[in-house]
Structure formats: C-alpha cells, structure tokens
C-alpha cells in the first residue's frame, strides 16, 4: 500500500486529522457563532457564495437559522470524543482479555473466546441499536453501547499475537527464572505485541466515528440541541429539495475526517508493521 499512497498524501491526511482535533478542542474560539443560537430570519439561508448568502455564515444556516459551520465545528467534539474514548476503553479491555486468553489458555481462554464468538454473532450496528433502544439516547449510553462490542476486535488480535509470543525464547527465559504469569504478560508479551494493537486502534477510530454518526442519524445517538454530524445530516433530509447545504456539509465533514484517519492509519501501519505490506 505504501507504494500506492505516497508519503505526501499520508502527511496531508495526518495534518487534516490534526486540524479536526484542534478545531474540536478550541471550538468556542474557532466557531464564528453560538452553535445553538437560532434566528428564524436566517432560516435555510444559503452558503456565503450563493445569492442571498452571507459570508458571516459561510456554509449557510439550517431550518432553525443556526450557523452550519459552527455546528460542524462543535459536532467534531462529539465524533472525535466518542471515537477516541470508545476505542480507548475497548483497547484496554481487549488487551487485558486477549493477554489472559492467549497466555493462560485453559478455561480462561474458553470463557473469553466463547464470549467473543457470541458477540461476533451480532452485526455491529444491530447490536448497538438494540442496546440504544433499551438504554435510551445520549453520549454516555452510546459510548457504552459501542464499547460492549468493540473490545472484541483488539481482543482477537492480542490473543493471536500472545499465542505466538508465548512460545518465543524470551518468554521461555522469563518463565525459567521464575517470573509470574502477570509479570510475563505485562513486561515480556505486551511490549512486543503493541504495534498491531496500535494499528488496529487507529483504523477502528474511523469505523466507530461512522457508527456514531449512523446512530445519531437514526435518532438514537446524541440528542438535540447538541450538534452531532449524523443528526445534522438527518435534520437536513427534510429540506433536501430547497436547501441541499444543510445535509451536505456535515456529511462531508464525516467523510473528510474518516478518510483522513484511514489514509493516515495506513501510514502508521506501514511504519509499525512490515508484515502488512502487500
């Protein structure tokens, strides 16, 4: 893949991701307007470059006259927060479970692998929708709903890597000098399997962001008046005939961020793990 995606493109993607993160972190200073401020005189106002547009509201306004650009900037907070937090929680659980299953084997492995098999039986979005239907919408519930299933991904990777690492000489050596299982897992196995874990985590952040946006689009995620890219696209659906910009720009923000993460993560993968090369 490295030959297909030149370094310049990967750097551009990484810079785009960084720009989104900074935008989200400094949203109150970056956003030109209050994302919740409604103004019915500006209802469905077109973007700045169009007739009747106003450059003070460069991407136009939604059905309540709120500034779309400011809402996209604040929406970045939700997407990035959920993407990072879910993957972080999932990685911690997945690494612990995967290490235990792969190193200890026996009944521990059977229980963890059994649970993994069962969770893999659910299509991801269906599982999240089922949980959100029961728990009700909201940011915290969404983090839980996604993390309940997401940990399976790093767990399988870590288990596989641990099974291989278990048989290596440095682990044998540690065992021979009487190191405990916990010590071996934490100090010998873990540092040697971190690269694939990091590679998987970066790719998964992009997928979790799309899942969050999908849930919010369906009305099961972040609730109004908070701005989320998915719910902004949903809001704009009803006005698609007269005001294409309401749905188009938030969706483009999702595409740009997810695409940038995917491109950048391939560079991370190429740098960390030569085995992934074509």
């Amino acid at each position: 893949m490295a030959e297909l995606l030149p370094g310049r493109l990967a750097r551009l993607a990484a810079l785009t991701v960084l720009a989104f993160v900074l935008m989200a972190a400094f949203a109150p200073w970056v956003a030109p307007h209050d994302p919740g401020a409604t103004d019915l005189f500006r209802r469905l106002q077109p973007p700045g470059w169009m007739e009747e547009g106003d450059w003070a509201f460069p991407l136009g306004c939604d059905a309540l006259g709120r500034d779309i650009l400011s809402r996209i900037i604040y929406g970045a907070r939700v997407s990035i927060f959920i993407g990072v937090v879910v993957v972080l929680i999932a990685t911690m659980i997945g690494v612990a479970a995967g290490l235990a299953a792969g190193y200890l084997r026996g009944w521990v492995d059977r229980v963890i692998s059994g649970l993994v098999d069962i969770l893999l039986g659910f299509p991801y979005l269906i599982f999240a929708v089922g949980l959100m239907a029961m728990m009700g919408p909201g940011v915290l519930n969404m983090v839980l709903a996604l993390a309940y299933k997401e940990w399976v991904v790093p767990c399988r990777v870590v288990r596989g890597e641990t099974l291989a690492a278990r048989e290596t000489e440095y682990v044998e050596a540690a065992r021979a000098i009487g190191a405990s299982s916990a010590t071996i897992m934490a100090h010998e196995v873990l540092p040697n399997i971190l690269s694939p874990v990091i590679v998987v985590a970066t790719v998964r952040i992009a997928q979790v962001i799309i899942l969050e946006a999908s849930l919010s689009f369906l009305g099961l995620g972040v609730q109004p008046p908070a701005a989320s890219w998915g719910s902004m696209v949903a809001d704009g659906r009803g006005y698609i005939l007269d005001a294409w910009w309401v749905s188009t720009f938030p969706g483009f923000a999702i595409l740009l961020l997810v695409l940038s993460i995917n491109v950048a993560s391939q560079a991370v993968r190429d740098a960390l793990d030569p085995r992934f090369h074509d």
């Binding site: 659910f122 929708v129 089922g130 595409l255």
Partner: protein
C-alpha cells in the same frame, strides 16, 4: 474425517446461538424501567391495567422462568403481539422481510460485480493507474457514511436528473400480484415487465448505497489474494506451458483467489444487515430495517427484540455456511 469436523462445527453453533439468545433476552430484560409501564405511557392507564399487562407479558415471573418461556416461544417463531400493529410480531416481520432480503441480495450482487473484476484488474496491473484508482476508490468506499451517500445519490439522480424514483420499493400503479412478496420475482412470475422495470429502478440507488462499503472491502481482499496467487509456482508453470494470460487468470488464478473473498463476503453480511436500517430509512424502503427503527420510537419492544434475534441468528448461520463453503472449495483445508 470431514463429516466429523462438520459435526463439530455444527455443535459449536449451539452454544453461540444460545449465547446470542441470552444476550438479546437480557438486552430487553435488564434495562431500567418497567416495559409494561413504558408501553402504556401516555395512555392514562390505571395501575390495574399496568399490572394486567405485566401479567400478560409474563413480567411478574422470575428472570429464568421468563427466559425459558422466551426461548420456548422463539423456537416456534412466537414473539408475542406487536403492540403498535395489534398483530403477532412474527406476522409483521414476515411481511417486511422480503423487501429487506431483496435489497440485501441486490447490494451483495452489486458488491461482487464491482469488487471481483476491479480487484483482479488492480492486481494484474499492480502499481498502474487502474490500481491506484481502485485503491483510492476503495478508501472512499469504506470512508463514506452510507446515510449521507444515499442522500447525495437521491439529490443527483432522483431530484435533479429525475431519472430514478425518490423513495419506496414500487409505484402503486405497477404493483404486481403478491405471490412471494419479492417484487422482482413476483413481477417476473406475473410476466409484468412494467413492474419489473419499476421495481429495479427503485432498487438501484439503495442497493448501490448499501453495497458500496462491502464492494470496497471485497475489492481489496480480491486484489490482495490475487497478488498472492499470481506469485505461486503453478501460475509460473502455466505461463511456462504457454497458456494464454486470460486463460491463466480465469481458470487457475481466480478460482483460488476467490476463497478469501467468499469468507470476507460472509463476514461483511453483518454490515449489510446493519446497513439496512440506515439505507431503508434514507430511501423509505418498506423493509425490516426501517420497521425496527420505527418500532424503537414507538417503544414496540417485542418487535425490536424479535428482529435483533433474527438478524443475529441469520448472521451466525451465514458465517457457518461460508465456513463450510470455504472448506468444500479449498482442498488444502483438511480439518
């Protein structure tokens, strides 16, 4: 040997299906709030009516008892009454299922017809312009939020160009006589070409939206496994024998390269099943996915529960079949 391994895998299905059922049951049972009260909210129900509904739903019994009842009923396809429709859940789902199957099948076909030729071409012309284009295309494919892409397609082809219908599965005037519930099949059976054309026109944009991420992933898998196969000795040998390039690709390489594609296609049906909810919502498709989303908002929990279970069981079985297919197709797997 093989039949023993097959039996083992078949037996492995049992705990997985059991576990899936337990989770679906717990999803709906352990959540805070009394389902009976939630269902009767806004209906000015008396406490006696709530108690009566609780009893009818079996909520006054212990959790294990309720689980056994749930499984017993589920095995018979009995999921209680859809509170919104006042009809059995199973009947409501059965009515919506053909539209969802039809859409998923169309999306799967679209994905395979896009992915396999593109993946082969990309691998054969590795590093060339087509390979680059296919790689960039697949990156877009996995990064596009389906709900947004669907809206853009609608905007372009239905609203601006007026080439395709905006929503639904068929226009009322073209409705074929309902035999199977599958509009495409019913149209063919009735010999109604107008219905067939109308149904396919409705199907096109949702199928592309749903199938695109899968096409992107399958393209990359096909490309990678094709590259792998092309490196093998038997390909070099075939070339040395003087066989034509097309013949080698079609007869020797593709057959083996497609094994991983089949496996990944099965795994990715999960994203098709989940994507149905989003795509059906965007295109007003009268299928199960939209029904589930609508049911959540009217708190029609028995239906949501049955649908989630149906999706999960389908997914487990599809993966099992793919696993078997892989074993049958690949002589190297000596289980």
């Amino acid at each position: 040997m093989r039949s023993v391994a097959l039996l083992q895998r078949l037996l492995h299905l049992v705990p997985v299906l059991f576990g899936v059922t337990v989770i679906v049951f717990l999803m709906m049972s352990l959540t805070p709030g009394d389902p009976a009260e939630i269902m009767l909210a806004n209906q000015n129900a008396t406490p006696e009516q709530v108690a009566s509904l609780r009893h009818d739903m079996g909520l006054d019994r212990s959790l294990p008892t309720r689980f056994v009842t749930f499984v017993g009923h589920a095995v018979q396809g009995e999921f209680g009454l859809s509170l919104f429709h006042r009809r059995p859940v199973a009947a409501v789902i059965a009515e919506r299922l053909p539209a969802t199957i039809e859409l998923s099948a169309a999306a799967l076909l679209f994905a395979l017809f896009m992915a396999i030729p593109l993946g082969v071409v990309a691998a054969v012309h590795r590093g060339g312009i087509l390979d680059r284009l296919a790689t960039v295309g697949s990156l877009f494919g996995v990064s596009l939020p389906g709900f947004w892409f669907g809206i853009l397609l609608l905007l372009a082809f239905a609203v601006n160009l007026r080439l395709l219908p905006v929503s639904g599965a068929i226009d009322f005037a073209h409705q074929p006589p309902g035999l199977t519930g599958f509009l495409v099949i019913d149209s063919v059976l009735a010999g109604r070409m107008d219905s067939l054309g109308n149904a396919l026109a409705h199907l096109l944009l949702p199928a592309i939206t749903l199938g695109l991420p899968m096409a992107a992933i399958l393209m990359r898998v096909t490309r990678a496994s094709m590259l792998e196969v092309l490196r093998q000795d038997y390909i070099t040998f075939a070339e040395a024998k003087g066989l034509g390039r097309t013949r080698i690709l079609a007869l020797h390489a593709l057959k083996n390269a497609l094994l991983p594609t089949v496996t990944v296609a099965a795994i990715e049906t999960g994203s098709l099943l989940g994507g149905n909810m989003v795509v059906e919502t965007v295109f007003g498709w009268p299928g199960l996915g939209r029904l589930v989303v609508e049911s959540i908002f009217v708190r029609n929990y028995p239906l949501v529960q049955a649908a989630v279970l149906l999706y999960a069981v389908t997914y487990v079985l599809v993966n099992f079949v793919a696993d078997m297919l892989y074993t049958v197709l690949n002589p190297r797997v000596r289980m």
